[in-house]
């Protein structure tokens, strides 16, 4: 990262620079203020000392005399000479002694010593000037009445003479009366130069210190803050791109502060994320495996149902066709048909309660038991009574099956059947339209032990048809949750022209009708149906 100026560095340096400039300005201003105050006080103090010295040269009792007579005697000249010498020796600007008018607006000069370098000439004895600055009148009045020094010192700045300070003291005669006003003006020539030098020095030193500090501080920031953070940022970016945890760089940041914590946390996060992704991959793989197994299970379940048509190509006395369309997951519907012997055909239609793997497992048991017992030659009611009791054993899950079993004696057309809580089949008998096959009510299989199943019997003639189905047909839903219903099913068989259609085509048409009714609504339950037709025994076989 060396040589490359990161956004973070720039921001940090800029903020420190800004802070330095503000600090420098503040220090310079305070220095300027302090310096000025101290120097001005010093100048003023020295002006007062000069004033006190000048006062000792005077003979206060004679001052009024000089003004009244205008006489300049030897004593006056001596005093003036002393004051002139004092002006020069103290490098003062002016020393003057004046008599002030009662309202302090005019001053009449008694002595006036001017420094030769100023180029001014002195005001002679008795010269009266309206020169009192109104701003100072109150101060002067205070001095003249109380004899005390002014709390503030006079300070003025003129273009011609620069800054100067004034000391003003009253002059008392031997009787203690204030008879004159003594002023000393001293130029503060040194102030300006010294002050700017001082301020520049302060600024220079501050800037130098700040610059040094900046260098050290930037180095510190780079090493302690910027560089580790850039490392962490770079590492995080790298991780975001390749998702491989690499802790070597992060572990180099061995710090006990927040940056160290950040580095450790990022490192932990990388490890955790990698771990998490691994777990997720494993879980996903497991889920895929289970999904694949479920697909196989569904396939096995479907394969358990007879699915080769025509199933008995050499039997021309009847045609049979059946389909099962599972809903989303593996379900519990099943149909079955098989020859018990050469003269008996068994047909089964059943629905296990619930869905999923439990229903599918229960279906396998139920189907196997029914087929085994039916093939043993038992009457349908006996088959169900036996199967029911067997299913009830160890049925902790409380599953049950609705089932219809019919056994056709092919030679006579005698059809013996039993209904364990299943939807009654539709039958078209003796050339009549389809109607519900009369079925005596019996309880479902596996619901309760020792249930008696009532057996019924009819005779099927050539041309008769029997339709078995599960509630997936009649309870198919449209988008408004309306049921396909028994009446629609009955109407389909009686109103659609099915005369020339094979059984397969008829069931396909029924499927289409249900799909049209559902209008895109999801299929909630398995749709299973079986169609049986008794043929004329002239050898015709329409099975598609």
């Amino acid at each position: 990262m060396k040589g490359k100026i990161s956004g973070l560095s720039v921001k940090l340096i800029a903020s420190v620079l800004l802070l330095s400039v503000l600090l420098c300005a503040a220090i310079s201003y305070m220095g300027y203020r302090e310096f000025t105050t101290v120097l001005e006080e010093e100048y003023n103090r020295s002006a007062y000392e000069i004033a006190e010295t000048a006062k000792t040269y005077l003979n206060p009792d004679r001052l009024d005399y000089y003004l009244e007579t205008g006489e300049i005697d030897q004593e006056y000249l001596d005093i003036q000479a002393k004051l002139d010498a004092l002006v020069v020796s103290t490098d003062s600007y002016i020393i003057y002694v004046t008599k002030l008018s009662d309202n302090y607006t005019t001053s009449t000069y008694i002595f006036d010593s001017v420094h030769p370098d100023t180029g001014f000439t002195r005001y002679e004895l008795g010269y009266t000037a309206q020169d009192m600055d109104p701003a100072y009148q109150e101060e002067v009045a205070e001095i003249m009445t109380t004899g005390e020094r002014s709390a503030v010192y006079f300070y003025s700045y003129t273009q011609a003479s620069g800054a100067h300070t004034t000391a003003a003291i009253p002059v008392e005669n031997s009787a203690g009366e204030i008879v004159a006003f003594l002023g000393v003006e001293k130029a503060m020539t040194a102030l300006e130069n010294a002050r700017s030098t001082y301020v520049w020095n302060v600024m220079g030193i501050t800037m130098l210190a700040v610059a040094l500090f900046l260098l050290v501080y930037i180095g510190f920031l780079r090493r302690e803050v910027v560089s580790p953070i850039l490392t962490i940022a770079g590492e995080a970016q790298r991780f975001a791109e390749d998702n491989v945890a690499r802790l070597d760089l992060l572990e180099q940041i061995r710090k006990e502060d927040e940056i160290g914590t950040l580095a450790r946390v990022i490192g932990k996060m990388e490890t955790d994320i990698v771990q998490y992704v691994e777990n997720l991959t494993a879980v996903t793989a497991e889920k895929e495996r289970i999904g694949a197994e479920l697909n196989v299970a569904t396939q096995i379940q479907a394969d358990m149902l007879p699915w080769i048509f025509p199933p008995f190509p050499d039997r021309q006395e009847f045609d049979i066709y059946a389909t099962m369309t599972p809903a989303k997951e593996v379900g519990g519907d099943f149909y079955d048909f098989f020859l018990v012997d050469q003269d008996h055909l068994a047909v089964v239609m059943a629905d296990v309660s619930g869905k999923g793997v439990p229903a599918a497992l229960f279906m396998v048991i139920a189907k196997t038991l029914i087929k085994n017992h039916a093939q043993a030659g038992m009457a349908p009611s006996r088959v169900f009574e036996t199967v029911n009791n067997q299913l009830c054993e160890n049925n902790e899950a409380g599953m049950f099956v609705t089932a219809f079993l019919g056994i056709l004696e092919i030679s006579t057309g005698r059809f013996t059947y039993v209904n364990a809580g299943h939807n009654p089949p539709l039958a078209a008998l003796g050339g009549q339209p389809y109607d519900w096959l009369p079925s005596k009510r019996s309880f479902v299989l596996a619901g309760m032990e020792n249930v008696h199943y009532r057996q019924q019997e009819i005779t099927l003639l050539p041309g008769d048809r029997l339709f078995l189905y599960t509630d997936g047909v009649t309870e198919a839903l449209d988008p408004d949750n309306a049921l396909y219903s028994d009446s629609r099913l009955q109407a389909f068989f009686n109103e659609v022209d099915l005369a020339d259609k094979s059984l397969e085509e008829q069931l396909a048409l029924l499927h289409q009708d249900i799909a049209a009714f559902a209008a895109g609504a999801e299929q909630a339950d398995d749709i299973t149906m079986l169609l049986l037709r008794i043929n004329e025994t002239d050898g015709r076989n329409e099975n598609g």
Partner: protein, 98 residues
Amino acid sequence: MTITKNVDHNTLRITLEGRLDTNTAPQLEAELKSSTGGISELIFDFSGLDYISSAGLRVLLAAQKTMNKQGKMTILHVNETIMEVFEITGFVDILTIA
């Protein structure tokens, strides 16, 4: 489906609204499992129930078996559609429908 429970002494009254099918039956099964302890009379009010599937029947059968051991179970206000299901499946013979 909405399940409303009311317990009065040893009587538990459950009012169902909506559809009792594969998706909602486990909900009722869990409710029953947690609330039938010590109950001697279980009353179902089906006036708001529109539909019952085989999964729902399974829960009712389990409830009936439980109540056979500890008291009685009655179902009230069964609509025509559901009554038909009870009749087809033979549940009318084992349930007390008032």
